[in-house]
Amino acid sequence: MSDSLAVFHGHFGRVCLYSMDRKMVPHGHREGHLIFHVQGPAAEMVVNGTARPLSAGQAVAVSPWQAHYYNPLNHTEPTLALVLYIRPAWFLEAARRASASLCFGRNGIEVTDHLARLVFGTAQAMLDNDRQDLLIEDRLCDLTQFAFDQSWQWTPRGAEFTGPDLPRRDFRVRKALKYLQARVGEAIELDKVAREVGLSRPHFYKLFRAQVGLTPNLYLNALRMERAIDMLASSQDAVADIGFDLGFSSQASFSRFFISNGVVPPSAYRRTVHVA
């Protein structure tokens, strides 16, 4: 069972220290995503269908709304990973590149000595309960900026560059996004959404996927996760109630969903989260 060792929320978004041994389901989110190996066996992140190594020398950067999942390679021992969810608006202030916010130039990041020091420093600070580490935001800014800058540097292995996918969205997709955002937690039939925006079901799926980067189901899951994380961190509501509010029929099904989309059970997430 994957477990959460520490979670911090702040202006930057979220940073989590996770012990991971479960394969996840493909998912995406609006935050930029950086995953660094801290210790344990190597694993991989599958981003848009391509496996990227997650090991001592290799980190993975995932742009907003890129579909991805974690895949352990060793099933007996968990991998300790530092996982960043970076709010694009926060990063825009620190970023030098003005193109679409927080799009990484490529998914594979080489963990240089300097990056490795930042990763271990951050992980240590997160585990140190006695010290309120006020520099965590600076560290995360550095980590993100370093990884981001590197992702735009040319390397001889140029084919691994993915380049930014500029958003060009059809009005029907925009309408569907609004519809879904307004009804998180309700039982949503995607057939109905397709009809609502005036598309056939297969065309809706295809267009949505092409323009958003995820299928409508995965997008809906991302919205549910956002809401769940927000409620776990900021409210006192019971975990089961949060699950019910989001349309799950039992705490068990909510937990299963939360684990497969967000690594750890909701209770473990709540136990370890610190809100700045």
Binding site: S99, H114, W154
Partner: protein
């Protein structure tokens, strides 16, 4: 006289010091300034001009930067003078070190006016290597910058060559850096042209006012464009200077060509723009062209000429790879890449 208001208030004109300094002191309500200057400026005409331009009749509190003093001791000493004299603003006067120290002391609480007398820095952009290592806080963005080319007339030829080449490389590397910033690209390219065209004249005849003005303009452009970050030449120079005791800028001539060839696969299209700007033929070797310029102004083309040995390279290369300038180099460069480049020009 020109007032340029990109990023901050920048006065640019010959003898602008006398007009602009009292105005900026009043505008920022500085009553007791601390003047931070290079030791070499002590007793010089330039510093006298600063004192005369200050509104208060008595001489201001002073701190001199000493290249032989350890960095931490220098900062600690300057902080104590700042506190004792209850200064409410800073005037940085001189080269990179003095301007950096003034910006560090200013922090976010006290306004800083920088008055460059060298072209390695005008007080914008990243701190120099030794200050950056000890800096715990962000340096101040100067409230005003006074670019007065008459203050650079006394610079000896060797210092003109090193700091002029530094301004040129800042423009070159900002233009090539990975960051996306079109206005900074234009500014960098213009600065590169000015530096490449006038550097040699300024070194050969220190009293050539037009050349001095162009070189200071290049430094200003470099400062404005530094927002984009630098690249491998700057990173490698920082890595080597930590042990080599060479003035910043001296090693650029040796490193230029090798770093540009390394970067060529990533940015060869940008090289075309530079060739056009410098009026070079279509297939001209940019690195070789700039190395010729470096040689003509007396900079070494081999690292061993300044006493660097092969033994020092692995550590220098590791430092270069970790340097902040390496982050925006157009091609991803590791320590072993730097070591190869350094070895090639040893």
């Amino acid at each position: 006289m020109s007032l340029i208001t990109y990023l901050t208030r920048i006065h640019f004109a010959d003898r602008v010091l006398e007009d602009a300094l009292p105005e900026e002191i009043a505008r920022h309500r500085i009553r007791r300034p601390l003047v931070v200057a290079d030791r070499s400026a002590e007793g010089g005409d330039g510093l006298e001009r600063v004192f005369d331009a200050l509104p208060a009749p008595e001489p201001p509190a002073m701190v001199f930067c000493d290249p032989d003093l350890p960095r931490d001791a220098e900062i600690a000493q300057a902080k104590s003078v700042l506190a004792k004299a209850e200064c409410d603003g800073l005037i940085g006067f001189g080269g990179l070190r003095a301007l950096d120290l003034a910006r560090l002391l200013g922090g976010t609480t006290r306004p800083v006016v920088t008055i460059p007398t060298r072209t390695g820095s005008i007080g914008l952009g990243p701190l120099g290597r030794d200050m950056a290592e000890t800096a715990a806080q962000r340096p101040a963005l100067p409230a005003a910058i006074l670019c007065d080319a008459t203050l650079t007339l006394d610079t000896p030829p060797a210092a003109t060559a090193a700091t002029g080449m530094d301004a040129l490389v800042h423009c070159l590397e900002s233009f090539l850096s990975t960051a996306f910033n079109p206005p900074a690209d234009g500014i960098a390219l213009d600065g590169l042209r000015r530096a490449a065209l006038h550097l040699e004249a300024a070194v050969q005849n220190g009293q050539d006012m037009a050349a001095r003005r162009e070189l200071l303009a290049a430094a200003l452009n470099a400062g404005l464009a530094s927002e984009k970050g630098y690249g491998g030449i700057e990173a490698a120079a920082h890595g080597l200077e930590a042990s080599a005791k060479a003035r910043h800028g001296v090693l650029h001539g040796a490193l230029l060509s090798e770093v540009l060839s390394f970067n060529a696969p990533a940015v060869s299209d940008r090289f075309d723009l530079i060739r056009t700007t410098l009026g070079l033929p279509e297939r001209a070797d940019l690195g070789a062209h700039l190395a010729v310029l470096a040689e003509r102004i007396g900079l070494p083309l081999r690292l061993s000429e300044v006493g660097i040995t092969a033994r020092a390279l692995p550590r220098a290369a590791r430092r270069a790879a970790a340097d902040c300038a390496n982050r925006t180099n157009p091609r991803h460069a590791t320590a072993s890449d730097y070591e190869k480049m350094m070895r090639a020009v040893l």
